[in-house]
Amino acid sequence: MSKNVLVIEDEPNIIEAIGFILSRDGWRVATHSNGEDAVEAVRSRMPDLVILDVMLPGRSGYDILRDLRGAEATAGMPVLMLTARGQNRDREMAEAAGASRFMTKPFSNSEVLAAVNQLIGA
């Protein structure tokens, strides 16, 4: 079974590191680094899981998530949100927008792996 993940993040070295550990874990990794057309990227790829950064160029991760939740095809898609601020308010906003899971930077590789696998029930 191949697991598809789309990483939406604008930090190239984070993309590379996460991409590396996920592919070693058996994931097929696609990446996208722009907020503006992130929703289209998700729709056209329809991954099993999305890793979404909150602060993206062009559009906020919360807005992207709200759009995903509003569309039937992506309403139930597992989304792991990444943020650089772990305050309660950010956690609440992520939950309100419909995040499946919320993770604060800087996270460890093993935390990410555990989270993504739990999210798709593997």
């Binding site: 930090e11 070295n13 984070i14 590379e16 590191a17 996460i18 590396f20 550990i21 070693r24 602060m55 650089a84 601020r85 308010r89 930077k105 800087p106 996270f107 460890s108 590789n109 990410v112």
Partner: protein, 439 residues
């Protein structure tokens, strides 16, 4: 029964200070001792000739007995009491308190004002992370870089037999990221430092601007034609303006002042003023000088102090949202500080009658029921632009008025702000009054 006013308490205070008996003062003022007793206990309103006679008998200025700056003081005390209702401040004796212990009253009012300013500052500081985009961006960058380094480093350590190509790549990434981290951390420190020096002001910018204008009596000879001054220099030299916000606000106001003075120099306006405020016609003055009414109103509130026939004027300017953008307070007509003003003011009525200059007498509800004459106009700010909705701005000039026998009755009663307004049947009321229905 009439609402209590301060005047009576002060007459009593002065009389006792002079060691004068009530009967003696009553005799000199030509009234009965029992009537004087009612006045002294603030049960009868006093004004006009009787006030002058009593002042003469007590050998004090009448203005020391009548209300003035104390009205504003009492308004502030009321606000302070409203903030801490649990303290149980004796609101029904507030005027007596302010009259008998003016120093203590000032101390409480000053403390309350300072507290309000500091609360604003604390709010600004706690909100800094969410409201300072530079700080948030710097922080985000540092944390992102740390994430990349942590993740990459743990790949290098934890992956057995990592291919040399990958190893090289991740080493390069770590080196690159650590450099970025160093720069980002420095930027973050610089941001935090800037925050420390940026706004250490204790007061709110509006107050600084007002203190600056008040210190100059709202008149700037340097900005009148031939004065040789410029707004930037006045702002730079002003001790009252400590925050950058206040300086920017003052600068904009002074630039407008200079432009007004160019179009309508004080020296040309002064000889055209009417003998009494009752016959003032700002619209006709605007027409005669080929300018607009709002400019005339601004100029009337920036004439050299002590010259001309209008030396006691107040002016408020608000934008389309009703926010007061300029305040020149007038004795007896206190202007609200942070709170919002009374919607019955002709200032706000003028916003729904754009371009029509209005002359409206008003009475101030409560306290002395002071009479005032107001002139208001709402007109677009700046020159009209093609296909752009104009942004309206309203001006209101306030003049004190000696009420005639019937005239004061015709004038509508307006307030200062709802919380301290006694008017009970007001369609514009936003929140309950602290003054009960004693009006």
């Amino acid at each position: 029964m009439a609402r209590t006013t301060l005047t009576g308490s002060r007459i009593r205070e002065r009389r006792i200070m002079r060691g004068m008996r009530q009967a003696e003062l009553a005799r000199q003022a030509g009234i009965s001792a029992s009537y004087l007793n009612l006045i002294e206990h603030n049960r009868r309103r006093i004004g006009g000739k009787l006030l002058l006679d009593i002042a003469a008998a007590l050998e004090v200025e009448p203005s020391h007995l009548s209300e003035g700056a104390e009205a504003a003081l009492i308004a502030t005390l009321r606000e302070a009491a409203a903030e801490r209702p649990a303290a149980g401040a004796e609101l029904d004796r507030i005027e007596e308190f302010a009259g008998r212990f003016p120093g203590w009253a000032q101390l409480i009012a000053g403390g309350y004002r300072r507290l309000a300013a500091m609360e604003q500052e604390v709010e600004a500081l706690t909100d800094r992370l969410s409201h300072d985009p530079h700080l948030a961006a710097s922080l985000h960058e540092v944390l992102s870089t740390v994430t990349a380094i942590r993740s990459t480093a743990s790949i290098l350590v934890d992956t057995p037999e990592l291919e040399p190509d990958w190893q090289d790549r991740f080493h390069r990434n770590i080196s690159e990221d650590s450099r970025r981290l160093a720069e980002g951390a420095q930027r973050l420190v610089a941001e935090l430092d800037a925050g420390e020096t940026r706004e250490t002001a204790q007061s709110v910018p509006q107050e600084e601007v007002e203190a600056f204008f008040t210190a100059q009596s709202f008149h700037f000879p340097a900005l009148e034609p031939g004065g040789g001054g410029d707004p930037a220099r006045l702002v730079a030299e002003a001790e009252e303006l400590t925050s950058s916000t206040a300086r920017a606000m003052a600068q904009a106001l002074l630039e407008r002042y200079a432009e007004d003075a160019r179009h309508l120099p004080a020296t040309r306006l002064l000889p055209e003023l009417p003998k009494t405020p009752e016959t003032l016609n700002p619209a006709a003055l605007a027409d005669a000088f080929g300018t607009d009414t709002a400019r005339v109103l601004r100029r009337l509130a920036s004439l050299p102090p002590g010259e001309g026939t209008l030396d006691k004027v107040g002016l408020v300017i608000c934008d389309g949202s009703g926010t007061l953008t300029f305040r020149r307070p007038l004795e007896g007509f206190p202007l609200p500080r942070f709170g919002t003003a009374c919607p019955l003011w002709p200032l706000f009525q003028s916003l729904s009658r754009p371009m029509m200059p209005m002359r409206r007498p008003v009475r101030l509800a409560g306290r002395s029921e002071g009479a005032f004459l107001t002139y208001a106009v709402a007109q677009p700010k700046g020159a009209p632009r093609l296909n752009r909705e104009p942004l309206f701005e309203a001006h209101m000039l306030i003049l004190p008025r000696v009420p005639g026998p019937n005239e004061a009755e015709e004038a509508p009663r307006v307030g200062v702000t709802c919380r301290i307004c006694p008017r009970s049947d007001c369609p514009g009321r936003r929140e309950p009054s602290l003054m009960g229905d004693a009006a």
